[in-house]
Amino acid sequence: MNMGMLSDNLGIVYALLGAALATFLAGSGSAIGVGMGGRAAAGVLTEKPELFAKVLILQLLPGTQGIYGLLVAFVVLGKIGILGGTAPTAAEGLLFLAACLPIGVAGLISAIHQGKASVASISLLAKRPDSFGRAMLLPAMVETYAILALLVSLLTVARL
């Protein structure tokens, strides 16, 4: 691709970069969070295999950020001429990029912290298997901020 072609498609390049960041950052955060939860779950299941269903739910809680990032990326792809819509100008492409950042960054950070909260909740469950409700509620609180970021990203992308 020569420089002229790149400058002609700068809008798509910026928008794709945004979609990539939303998927990559939020997905990486989820991978880290779910991975941490998985290790804690394995530790508990080594001694108490009967808790499998409960710890699996706690392990999966940080996985939602990756889905949110993917969702925003799909909406972007549907508007920039790849899965539908029209190719954006450079300025519009930058706006897409900016719109993707909230779910990318907040998704990354919240998923890692939700993973840590899930690990702690899995430990709580190990000590008190009857506290599943409370154990699930604590890491679920972190989800609030991922949802807020998702809303901002999604509403902004939808308006562009």
Partner: protein, 323 residues
Amino acid sequence: MKDYIYEVARIRVMENGLLTGADFEQLLAAPDRNAALAYLADKGWGGGAGTLDAPAMLKAEEDAAWALMRELLGDGRELDILRLTRDYHNLKAAVKDGYAASGLPPERLYLEGGTIPAEEIREAVREEHFDRLPDAMQEAAATAWQTLSRTGDGQLCDTILDKAALDALTAAAKEAPDPVLAIYAVTTAVSADIRIALRAAAAGKSAAEIVPMLAEVPDINSTLLAEAAAGGRSGAAEYLRSTPYGVLADALSRSMSAFDCACDNLMIERIRPQKSEALTLGPLAAYVIARETEIKSVRLLLTGLENGLPREQIRESLRQCYG
């Protein structure tokens, strides 16, 4: 930084198996030692073998705690600080046994579970190949051996090796991979310092002679402690009140066994925050300390029951539960 997510999660499950205050009340209510052993066997003590042999049961529990750590940490070198005192106990036994040739079976003299096998220490001392010992032990071992050979003074030999053990502990505390291990090392060194100071003062040593026997630990001034020890337990207790270890003062005023109990309780209090740690080595170290303290309590309880001590007296000697 390495995290210990899997390991801590497993430890959380294992903590459910620690004895609680209610368990100790049940044990105290047992009519005799065998009934207490049966209760422990029901709780899974002794590896589920159903044995009512107290030494075998307690040893199985000690071994189980360390076997779990080896399973979780591989060679378990991260927790070496917790095993250092066993090494120095074995070194002391090797030096004294090598000199006196007591002929006692090794299992009566040596502790298992040190960072180096007791047999290695025994061989090194017997053949006077002190270079086979770890660097930190070599000089103390050689000095203690030569001193004992020259003077026959077992107490002086003890002093040299006790000081070396405390120096090794405080040095290890500075490089501890987790704050819990530093807490363990410092708390152990402080309680040992106080015991050494009191023992030396009772033997008629002056403060100037006592100071070199003591390890340098944070918050404890060796000179002031040595001077206070001249006033006996009450003098040392008075000094302790001016330090962050004031919580030990009342127990020290009462008796040495109350002081030992208070030291263990202080350790348990200090490691208790590890119950909310999920990622670090701390909960693993705390679990080992808690298990060793629990086993110590059970040993005291069984001895008390065997000797027909009043239940209240046994209860006073029991350590706080971590579980």
